[in-house]
């Protein structure tokens, strides 16, 4: 009993870190630009496919496909931004959120059906040579792939944190979050900051896609599910804070794994969504609502 409980908690934490990475890009983009890009899950799906193809064609380690996936998704993000999102930068906030949400839906329909055309509706997954390997400590299994994913997720969370804290560009992004008008007066090019945040968000969605392809599987209609997960994490952890995102991801991961243990793994998704709706109703600013990026 004790073992299955600790196993559940460990799996919850491992999955939770992945969820945090899934939400990181969406949260960054929303925090900086107030764009609610609901095509985030579709960007993640494209990231998964990018890794899948590099892995299948070159036969390299799945975690080494991350750099090419980052490049691919940076490009896709830049194209999508310049085509559609750039036109919504100057809208007033409420209209902006609503219109980007709608455009995001249009985009998710487009990307989903393109993926269906390119890669068919088959489920695909990345199976590394060490996929079955796991360590056992005190009777609790630690699957190697999940550990590597946890590490990857933490590296990217930390990297973004350092980027926003230590670099000049990062500080410009944070200044824009705090007060975009004042930031403009200080000579920060808002258009550039928005573009950068969006592209960074797309790239982060790509890495998350790699991890999803390694741990689960990918198929063209997976996007909505992952967008919802990212939204849940964002609302659980509060908008636009990296620590909050990590906490939100862990909370969702733990909630899901405990649900699987107590109820049935069929209701994992449902419990997350119910939690989400309850928080929206009672605490729309999230559990750890801060404005800081």
């Amino acid at each position: 009993m004790l073992e299955s409980v600790s196993q559940t908690l460990i799996l919850g934490i491992l999955v939770g870190a992945l969820y945090a990475l899934v939400a990181l890009g969406l949260s960054l983009v929303f925090g900086v630009t107030k764009f609610l890009n609901v095509a985030h899950g579709e960007l993640l799906m494209f990231g998964g496919y990018a890794s899948f193809w590099v892995f299948s064609l070159l036969g390299i380690d799945p975690f080494l496909t991350i750099p090419t996936t980052l490049i691919a998704l940076t490009l896709i993000g830049a194209i999508v931004y310049q085509l559609f999102f750039v036109r919504m930068v100057k809208l007033p906030e409420e209209t902006k959120i609503k219109n980007t949400l709608l455009v995001g839906f249009g985009l998710s329909v487009i990307l989903q059906n393109l993926a269906l055309r390119f890669w068919s509706a088959d489920d695909r997954g990345i199976t590394a040579s060490y996929s079955g390997v796991a360590f056992t400590v005190l009777g609790v299994r630690f699957p190697l792939v999940r550990l590597a994913s946890l590490l990857t997720a933490l590296i990217f969370l930390l990297a973004l944190h350092l980027f926003l804290r230590k670099t000049y560009t990062g500080k410009a992004i944070r200044a824009t979050v705090q007060d975009w008008e004042a930031a403009t007066l200080m000579g920060i090019d808002i258009q550039r900051v928005y573009f950068l945040a969006f592209v960074l968000g797309a790239a982060l969605a790509g890495v998350a896609g790699t991890l999803v392809a390694v741990n689960y599987s990918i198929e063209p209609s997976m996007g909505l599910n992952w967008t919802l997960k990212a939204l849940i994490v964002m609302v659980l952890g509060g908008l636009g804070s990296i620590t909050g995102t990590l906490v939100g991801g862990l909370l969702l991961g733990l909630t899901e794994s405990v649900t699987s243990l107590l109820l049935s793994s069929n209701y994992r998704e449902v419990v997350g969504l119910v939690l989400f709706v309850l928080i929206l109703i009672f605490r729309p600013q999230g559990l750890f609502g801060t404005k800081e990026a």
Partner: protein, 320 residues
Amino acid sequence: MKRNAYANIGLAVLAIVVLACLPLVVKKDSILNLLILVLLYVVLASSWNILGGYAGQSNLGHAAFFGIGSLVTRLLWILGWPFAACMAAGVASAIALALLIGFPAFKLRGVYFAIGTLALAQILNVTVGNLLPEMSYNPALADYQIVPRYYLFLALAVMTIAAASAVVHSRLGLGMKAVRFQEDAAESLGVSAFKHKLVALIFSASFAGLAGGAFAYYHVSYYLNMPFGPAWTFDPMMMAYIGGAGTVVGPIIGSVFFVLIKELLVLHVGEYHLVIFGTLFILVVLFLPGGLVEAWEKTRTALQRWTRARPRGPVATDTR
């Protein structure tokens, strides 16, 4: 204005008569199936439009009402209830769900309402899929006929459009419009935003529930959670937007356009219709918030201005 209204009613009656006579002439099931699809989308897009267009509350959970309507209707029908009673129960459950969702959901404003309703619909989608995973077969399979199904959908579409246009031209519709444009200003003038949103939601949900009932009557076999799928929200929403959100004809135009594009493209380039439809939807959101209806009105006024600008005989100078 008066003459215009009569012309519209005349046109609508003509369209209904033509559509009602069609099964007498057309004997091919494939064409009737196609028309049923258009009519189903007309009902869904128009009913989405009552809340999403007139009252301005982007409901991303419309599929929940469609789904619950079809689920209750189908299950009771399989149990052997008379079909009319099944459909009534379907609508009643859609309205009940609307009331259940309405009170918490309208505490949420704007985008929170949108993602909240999306989450609610997904909760139902997954739960129904978990509880009732089997394929459902039509109880009337032995003597399945398409024509009565066609008339059911036609009647529903006419009812939905009539109700939508009655709402728009009423005090209630004006209130909804006020809530859409400036919720706070509307409140300050004594228009209860909550009441108007809730009434719009109930209207919207009941027609979606009816559509669900008709879907349960029409479809031969499907998974019971299929009508809860997000596409039943997104496709009608895109249709309403492309046609013209917040207008009566917009959703009709959008639905016809959607099915037309789908059919044309399936013949020639395969399943690209959603890529094109998605692109059109984005373009409408970005550049043409009034959709095709607005585009048409703009061209018409431009044409009128152009024809008026040309001198036509002696011009009256002073009208005082």
